[in-house]
């Protein structure tokens, strides 16, 4: 039997990619280690090496093909003694999906870890819950006839930085791999090319140091965007984020503003283990002197990052790795800036309020669809900003629905949901028909094993279950 060469995964979150180029042709002999092809994802270009010896019998995927699924056969190698005739007996087995992972936007881990459909990272444009679906949030009006451009969250963030860097010469971005490498997650792609190495600064791996350096640069009159490869690494820098950036304005009697943004992916990625998977929402949201933003869709990512860069205060901007490749409509407007501190009602409903931020918003909307099928109309509030928290929008909603489910990806204890629940109890106790419910990650470090990881992270089914409980329909 010919040996199958499979489409490799370049990262834990990759589900498909483009076969950019073949470097061998049929009939060539290869040995293990030889580069045979180049593949691309939205994040990177990588070379594919042969892992076995043989003669290239057949190239199954044409050069330039997009959306090639991970683990699907891309070529066949003939072993010694085999010839073209052996190819005729070959029957592709088809792509075998990887084990269940948290990168499944459709499936809640609570369903048992299995999954029946793998949604690619670059999924089609999200519809329901989009900008037109529900109002609120004090967003600028989008004039009729404005083009809505399908944009990934990744590119929306990049566009926000690029636009602000064009607008203000004091804005610069620094961090690990932001320049030459084009961003570890390609969020800073092409910024070096446009703005040069003075304003797009590769740092050594030195989070504590460059966070402090960023604070000094802000004190010195610049507007730094400090990218953390992930917020997990920012734990080394948290002293500067809190003690230096957040507190100095107060300690200086208002003299020492620190206009800067700390941004990067936060929360669980996929199969990267406990040290690379923490959600820091509650940590930063507790600190006076900071603003904390955690957007879900691309329009919010762009509009809120632009607002964060313009804000005269230190802003912690929590992104999500698993959202970078997701595509949403972004209004094609000259200056799309959103207000910080305003939640957005993503879906209106009368029976239960669901609050969520970042990636959990997607699960909340899916849960709402499922609940609607069962006769429960959920109102989904995308918090967008965690500090200042838009309590009014939440309270108003609860006064209408009389029930609330607070969903977040991080741990529950002292979490975002705990805070919201406390505020709702304090401010709308008489309106509640059920105790507030919370959905959160299991109280353990995030495990590596696919099934355990799936069990640990909250998802759609957890939200559905909690919503039914507060509606006493469990």
């Amino acid at each position: 039997m010919p040996i199958e060469v499979l489409m490799p995964a370049l990262s834990p979150t990759m589900e498909e990619g483009t076969l950019a180029k073949w470097l061998v042709k049929e009939g060539d002999t290869v040995s293990s280690g030889d580069v045979i092809a180049e593949i691309e994802t939205d994040k990177a270009t990588m070379e594919v090496e042969a892992v076995e010896e043989g003669k290239v019998g057949k190239l199954l995927v044409e050069e330039g093909t997009e959306g090639v699924k991970v683990n699907s056969p891309i070529a066949l190698l003939l072993e010694e003694g085999e010839d073209k005739g052996d190819l005729e007996n070959y029957e592709p087995e088809g792509a075998s999906p990887p084990p269940s992972s948290s990168d499944d936007a459709d499936t809640s881990p609570a369903s048992g870890g299995g999954k029946d459909s793998a949604e690619p990272v670059s999924s089609p444009v999200h519809g329901g819950g989009g900008r037109a679906a529900a109002g609120g949030g004090n967003d600028p009006e989008i004039p009729e006839g404005t083009d809505m451009v399908p944009t990934t969250v990744r590119d929306a963030l990049r566009d926000a930085m690029a636009e602000e860097m064009r607008r203000d010469e004091t804005v610069f971005v620094m961090g690990e791999e932001v320049a030459e490498y084009q961003g570890a997650y390609k969020v800073t792609r092409n910024l070096l090319q446009e703005f040069g190495s003075k304003r797009v600064v590769d740092t050594p791996i030195t989070e504590h140091g460059f966070a402090g350096l960023g604070v000094g640069a802000a004190f010195g009159g610049l507007k730094p965007i400090v990218e953390f490869m992930t917020f997990n690494f920012a734990m080394q820098a948290i002293d500067h984020i809190i003690n230096s950036a957040a507190k100095t304005l107060y300690m200086s009697g208002g003299q020492m503003g620190c206009p800067m943004v700390f941004r990067g992916p936060n929360g669980a990625a996929s199969r990267v283990g406990a040290q690379h998977s923490q959600d820091y929402s509650a940590w930063y949201a507790q600190v006076p002197g900071l603003k904390v933003i955690a957007p879900w869709d691309a329009a919010d990512a762009k509009g809120l990052l632009k607002a964060a860069i313009r804000d005269p205060n230190p802003v912690v901007f929590l992104e999500h790795e698993l959202m970078y490749g997701e595509t949403f409509d972004v209004p094609d407007m000259e200056d799309w800036v959103l207000p910080i501190g305003k939640a957005k009602i993503r879906r209106t409903g009368s029976d239960v309020t669901i609050t969520a931020h970042s990636r959990m918003v997607g699960f909340a909307l899916k849960a709402a669809e499922e609940l609607a099928e069962q006769g429960i109309e959920a109102e989904v509030i995308d918090l967008r900003t965690l500090r200042p928290l838009d309590t009014d929008t939440i309270i108003e909603s609860v006064k209408k629905t009389n029930r609330i489910v607070c969903a977040e990806e991080g741990w529950g204890q002292h979490g975002v949901g705990a805070e919201i629940a406390a505020r709702v109890v304090a401010e709308a106790f008489d309106y509640l028909d059920a105790p507030p419910a919370r959905v959160f990650q299991k109280d353990v470090p995030l495990p590596y094993a696919a099934n355990l990881e799936a069990l640990s992270l909250p998802g759609k089914d957890d939200i559905v279950k909690a919503a039914k409980e507060v509606c006493y329909e469990g």
Partner: protein, 349 residues
């Protein structure tokens, strides 16, 4: 008595002030006016700190209060070498730096007493004061944090290409913090205009340098990053000024950072609540008697016949008046209005 003290100084094994002063005059060219200015500036710090210590004892100043007495030549000497627009940043032993930067003693003292007239409206305290006007960037309470921030100020200078440098002060204790080396690395990698001034006063709180540092010659700490460093007699204001001027030039001309290790000594405890049991009375007395930075300048003034004993007494009297006025101000200034509790958390956009 003198002989005994000299001997005891030898036994302590300090390297700070073993260099003997020249018999006559400072080591570099210095004018009468300069000498008198340094005398006055150092004396202001000394008298101010003595008064702060007194107010602490009276319960008017609370919390942590770290006095600069003994180290005055460092900041006065460096300041004499800086240029208009250069920034200054330091740790929590910061009162001397603020005065040397030209900040108003009234505002500093009132901050120490936590009053509305303080530089931070009473919300910062001893360790957290700032003046954008005087380019003084704090006043930082986390040991070593100012090194990264000062490096960032240097980064902003290079970004703006304004020819300024950031004088970044830290102690022998902070010199063991990891972020200092993260900052050294970036500062040299990008040749940032930063002057690192290590005020080696021999004790990180109660731990002597040799008990805490594998390499006690702290000016060598930049070697693995390619940053030049120099040891300086930090009790000699002229030696400090000369070294700082050279180092400033190095940094401002695009050669990157420079490290100056100032061998100095604090007479008082680490903070007001430190009885300083980790060193002998003799050790402290020896420095005071033989290496005091203010007495040194006084001697040069006398030797050069730049001023009479009477003139110097007059200066002392003027300074005492300034300091007493600051103490009065700090007592009379009201406590911050309760409404200030919620101001300055965020800049209103």
């Amino acid at each position: 008595m003198m002989a005994t003290k000299k001997a005891s100084a030898g036994k302590t094994g300090r390297t700070a002030t073993t260099a003997t002063k020249p018999a006559v005059g400072p080591k570099a060219k210095v004018t009468k006016d300069q000498l008198l200015t340094y005398f006055r500036d150092m004396l202001l710090i000394r008298r101010f700190e003595e008064k702060a210590g007194q107010l602490y004892g009276m319960g008017l100043i609370a919390g942590f209060c770290h006095l600069y007495i003994g180290q005055e030549a460092v900041v006065v000497g460096v300041q004499a070498a800086l240029e208009e627009g250069d920034q200054v940043i330091t740790g929590y032993r910061d009162h001397g730096h603020m005065l040397a930067c030209g900040m108003d003693p009234n505002g500093v003292m009132a901050e120490l007493t936590g009053r509305a007239g303080g530089y931070s409206k009473g919300k910062g305290g001893s360790m957290h004061m700032f003046s954008r006007e005087k380019q003084f960037f704090g006043g930082h309470g986390i040991v070593g944090a100012q090194v990264s921030i000062g490096t960032g100020l240097g980064f902003s200078n290079l970004y703006k290409n304004n020819g300024k440098i950031c004088a970044t002060y830290f102690g022998d204790g902070a010199a063991n913090q990891g972020q200092v080396y993260e900052s050294f690395n970036m500062a040299k990698l990008w040749n940032l205009p930063v002057l690192y001034i290590i005020e080696n006063n021999q004790y990180a709180m109660g731990t002597s340098v040799k008990r805490a540092s594998s390499e006690t010659h702290l000016h060598k700490r930049g070697a693995s990053f390619g940053i030049p460093g120099r040891e300086v007699d930090g009790m000699d204001v002229i030696a400090v000024r000369e070294a700082a001027a050279e180092a400033r030039k190095h940094a401002a001309e695009g050669n990157g950072p420079f490290i100056l290790e100032m061998k100095t000594y604090r007479y008082r405890g680490h903070s007001m609540s430190d009885p300083a049991k980790y060193r002998t009375r003799e050790e402290v007395d020896d420095i005071r008697s033989h290496h005091d930075p203010i007495e040194g300048v006084k001697k040069w003034i006398a030797e050069g016949k730049h001023a009479s004993e009477e003139d110097l007494k007059k200066i002392d009297k003027e300074i005492k008046e300034i300091v007493n006025a600051s103490a009065d101000f700090s007592k009379e200034s009201p406590e911050p209005d309760p409404s200030e509790l919620y101001t300055d958390v965020l800049v209103e956009s």
